[in-house]
Symmetry: C2
Subunit: 142 residues, 2 copies
DNA sequence: ATACGACCTCCAGCTACTGTAGGTTCAAGA
DNA sequence: TCTTGAACCTACAGTAGCTGGAGGTCGTAT
């Protein structure tokens, strides 16, 4: 039986995060000691490891919830799990594309500025006027 | 003089977002009509366009606050602005690197799964066991 | 005069945690 | 057995950057 602190260490998770996952129903309520402290077994360790690994791969908690559910039902078709992963892959690819466009613009503005007063700063000029840009970057965030 | 709705349309911003920017002090409090509605001039339009463009390039509101301040003082050295942009570029490059590693793993798990029951799903297997991965992916989020 | 859209303030909610306050439990050492 | 101190508990607030809603007011066209 593991305490929450030990489980946290073993999975590289913060204690509060484990309690948070329990609160939102991603992890089941564990057993308790006579004094009311949480005690975990191997099943919970596996489950939390799964969650953390999926998070490291960028899956949202909602996606992870579905993946856990699928993992709990070995007889179901895995088509849904595969779809979630493909969706995630697509999202990652879109983000990469967007970030690469940003990278291009940022590189350009940094390289073109030769210092001096902010009145002539290339960085600020580009920020003031999108027509100085080579790429579009409609969406915000990320 | 522009209403908030017109300003929103001209800059591709939601009305609430403009009020939010004002609330956090990123945009100055504008003048008001006799009835208390916000009225904007060209200076505000420029300022908001700057903010939005910087957001599209991925700068944080905190960074934008500094950039605006530098832009307001044309005699200052632009070294700081350049530093902010370089920092942003670095961050973007790090994110790209991380996402490319994720992309590799996700592609692999998607391609290796040949369907069937979730019990044998390659996607779920990899999520259960990081040793199936080729890359490290310590950090979470993004 | 009235209708209707655009505006107003205030507040809650989103993701995925993280931190803090104030109190209790556990386990080891004296 | 008693004491100490780390680890635990609950509950709540805060982070970034918005977004949406409720309930009410303003502006303008007819
Ligand atoms: Zn410069
Ligand atoms: Zn641009
Ligand atoms: Zn599969
Ligand atoms: Zn892995």
């Amino acid at each position: 039986m593991l305490t929450i602190g030990t489980l946290a260490k073993k999975t590289g998770t913060k204690v509060q995060t484990i309690r948070y996952y329990e609160q939102i129903g991603l992890l089941p309520e564990p057993g308790r000691s006579s004094g009311g402290q949480r005690r975990y077994g191997d099943a919970e360790l596996d489950r939390l490891s799964f969650v953390r690994h999926a998070r490291q791969l960028g899956f949202s908690l909602e996606a992870i919830r579905e993946l856990l559910d699928l993992s709990d039902h070995p007889d179901k078709s895995c088509a849904e799990a595969d779809a979630i992963a493909r969706r995630q892959l697509k999202q990652v690819e879109q983000r990469i594309a967007r970030l690469e466009a940003l990278q291009t613009e940022l590189k350009r503005m940094v390289h073109e500025c030769s210092g001096g007063h902010t009145a002539d700063c290339r960085v600020l000029e580009v920020l003031r006027d999108h027509s100085e840009c080579l790429t579009n970057h409609e969406e915000i965030g990320g």
